[in-house]
Amino acid sequence: MQRIYFDHNATTPVHPVVVDAMAAALRDEFGNPSSVHYFGQRAKTAMDQARSAVATLIGGDPAEVVFTSGGTESDNHAIRGIAEALEPTGRRHLIATAIEHEAVLNTLKALARRGWTTSLLPVDQTGIVSPGALRDALTDQTALVSVMHANNEIGTVQPIAELARMAHERGALLHTDAVQTAGKLPVGVRALEVDLLSISAHKFYGPKGVGALWVRRGLRLLPILTGGKHERNRRAGTENVAGIVGMGAAAALAAAKMDEDAERLGALRDRLEAGILRAVPGTAVNGARTPRVPNTTNISFDRVEAESLLIALDLEGVAVSTGSACSSGTLEPSHVLKAMGFPPHRAQNSIRFSLGSANSEAEVDRVIALLPAIVEKLRSLTRAPVRV
């Protein structure tokens, strides 16, 4: 079966150049970067190059980049590291949006259990946070505001710079989870005016298990992993050298071809979106169409269980996604669509299509051609709730 992968917001295939760079690092750079000798220095040099490439991708300085195990750790580090660093100042209030990734939401919940107060900013059906909501939520006790750069489910881009200025006016810091934008849109830490920014390598054709947290120079952040003095005392543990090298290679590739990719993917996504809306009755796009990452569309299929549609498409070789998966891989109603104020059925009938660099017009057209019959069949079998 010819398989079509439309789930790049979940993860991307590792680019062959990245694979080669990692294989070389595994083979040749086995030294411990903390070691004084030749082998350690080589590994350290390889890591430094990667750090520069990552810094270039996000417009920061290499010294501001802390390598982590991925987006979740970066988000945890930003929030917990700032919360604990600012605890003695009495700033014990944290703000995030209701559509953040679980890495942020559940970290806030964990801190709430330990005495921090937390606020979640609402969103409307555009899926974009209003600056007014942040203005209302900010207090003189607010330590940190965490707002994702783009939402993973619907792709909408948040007005980060405006929100950051607003936070700064009240003496609060702003963290953004840029996991879904790095490699897709320009992510300039200075232009965004943020204090902390999370990225993850496997979302831009790098390996899983490695990410980075950008921390503005001079910002005091407590480590969440304690131990040796790795990563300038910010993240203990012998570094994942091959992974970091892979992330560096992926960052360099992304920086080089982002503009071209974004334009091509935007056209493909628009073709897919328009094609589905035209071919399948009872469909609608969830959230604002702009500003949005160019590869993502989230579409509601009236009177269809997204779970069934996802499986039916997989059986036809088409990989898509929806909502958030729980531990067994089953689907939960999307907290993002719920937060946007959609009724529960719409939070359960929506599918995310997220395109990537290898996708073609032919693949988009095949999916558009497949959908009407699949959806019609599923709708024909929707029965009233069973007798109890």
Partner: protein, 353 residues
């Protein structure tokens, strides 16, 4: 595919026979177990926990079929669990597996499967489906008399039976385990699941009380003459025929005879008083035929572990039936099913009133 040996072998046999098989598992409650304060460990080893779902996934990978886990937590709660709680609150003893079969597996799950392009749904039940000469579908006991599960399937309609496949129904349990070993399935030696999968600790009363706190209402335990022998903490703690946990003593052992939810009264008496000859059933499904016009001789089974006893049955109005046993039977329990058999064939069944 529950992750147990029966449904695993069912899937494997169909795949071996060259059918185009899609593996589906149902997640029926949060993976920590329903309402379990203690978390995941207590749910371990019962059907459809996270570990079981992952077992199902491993089996599917081993036999080379696609596999998906469907989230039916809401549907399971709205059909099976709510009925279970309501029945106990009403002084009856529910049979959730039968509801799960007819209201979930062969309705919601069947619809999902048809939506995915499937033609039939196979399960690991020990029962057999046969098409009769007149094209109607018949339900028969499984070949393994000890494992037979036709009792839990009596409420399937003709439409549901036409879509049902029971690949292990013709096998004995040892043969199923042998098939699992031959195919190399990791679940070959996995223990059988408990009867009620969503209450792993077996404390039904505590489960019902958590789900429906209003049932926790004190009442009297009385004898057949109405004399109060003691008090109890709610009718949901009792089932007809129950002997243990009454908290009252008399010369001879006492058994629950009747449960009256309105007055929260539990009537107890000696064992002979437990025996009855007649019962009325409602919601009767005459599975492969029309309701009989006259008294029909049958063997009737009144709970899963009851040896079907001879008697005669006749249809009443409103989907009800009256059954008269040849010999009195102990503990005819409202809420349980009565299933009528002609040899191995299920003639019909209904809910004991």
């Amino acid at each position: 595919m529950s992750g147990g040996v029966d449904s695993s072998v069912a899937a494997a046999l169909l795949a071996e026979q060259g059918h185009d098989v899609i593996g589906l598992s149902m997640q029926l409650y949060p993976s920590t177990g329903p309402g379990q304060a203690g978390g995941g460990d207590r749910a371990f080893g019962t059907c459809c926990t996270l570990d079981d779902l992952l077992d199902a996934r491993r089996v599917a990978a081993a036999i080379g079929i696609p596999h998906y886990i469907l989230n039916f937590e809401r549907q399971f709660h709205d059909t099976v669990i709510s009925n279970f709680v309501r029945e106990y609150a009403a002084g009856r003893t529910p049979l959730p597996c039968a509801h799960c079969n007819s209201d979930l597996k062969f309705s919601t799950l069947l619809d999902r499967a048809l939506g995915l392009g499937a033609e039939q749904v196979a399960t690991g039940h020990y029962a057999r489906v046969e098409q009769l000469r007149d094209r109607r579908w018949a339900l028969k006991r499984g070949a393994d008399a000890d494992k037979d599960q036709s009792y839990f399937l009596f409420s399937l309609t003709q439409e549901q039976l036409a879509r049902a496949v029971f690949p292990v129904g013709a096998l004995t349990k040892p043969a199923v385990r042998a098939a699992a070993r031959r195919i190399g399935l990791q679940v070959a030696e996995k223990p059988d699941s408990q009867e009620i999968c969503f209450i792993p600790d077996g404390d039904y009363a505590a489960f019902v009380a958590r789900q429906e706190p209003a049932v926790v209402r004190d009442g009297a335990i009385v004898d057949q003459q109405g004399r109060v022998l003691g008090r109890h903490g709610g009718v949901h703690r009792f089932t007809v025929g129950q002997r243990k946990g009454l908290g009252v003593s008399a010369g001879a052992p006492l058994y629950v005879l009747r449960i009256e939810p309105q007055s929260a009264t539990v009537t107890v008496g000696p064992r002979p008083a437990l025996e009855q000859t007649t019962l009325t059933a409602s919601g009767v499904n005459w599975i492969a035929g029309d309701a009989p016009a006259a008294w029909l001789p049958v063997a009737a089974q009144i709970r899963h572990r009851h040896r079907a006893a001879p008697g005669r049955v006749r249809a009443l109005e409103d989907g009800r039936a009256e059954l008269v046993f040849d010999e009195p039977q102990p503990a005819i329990t409202p809420g349980q099913a009565v299933v009528f058999y002609d040899a191995d064939f299920v003639v019909g069944g209904g809910w004991i009133q």
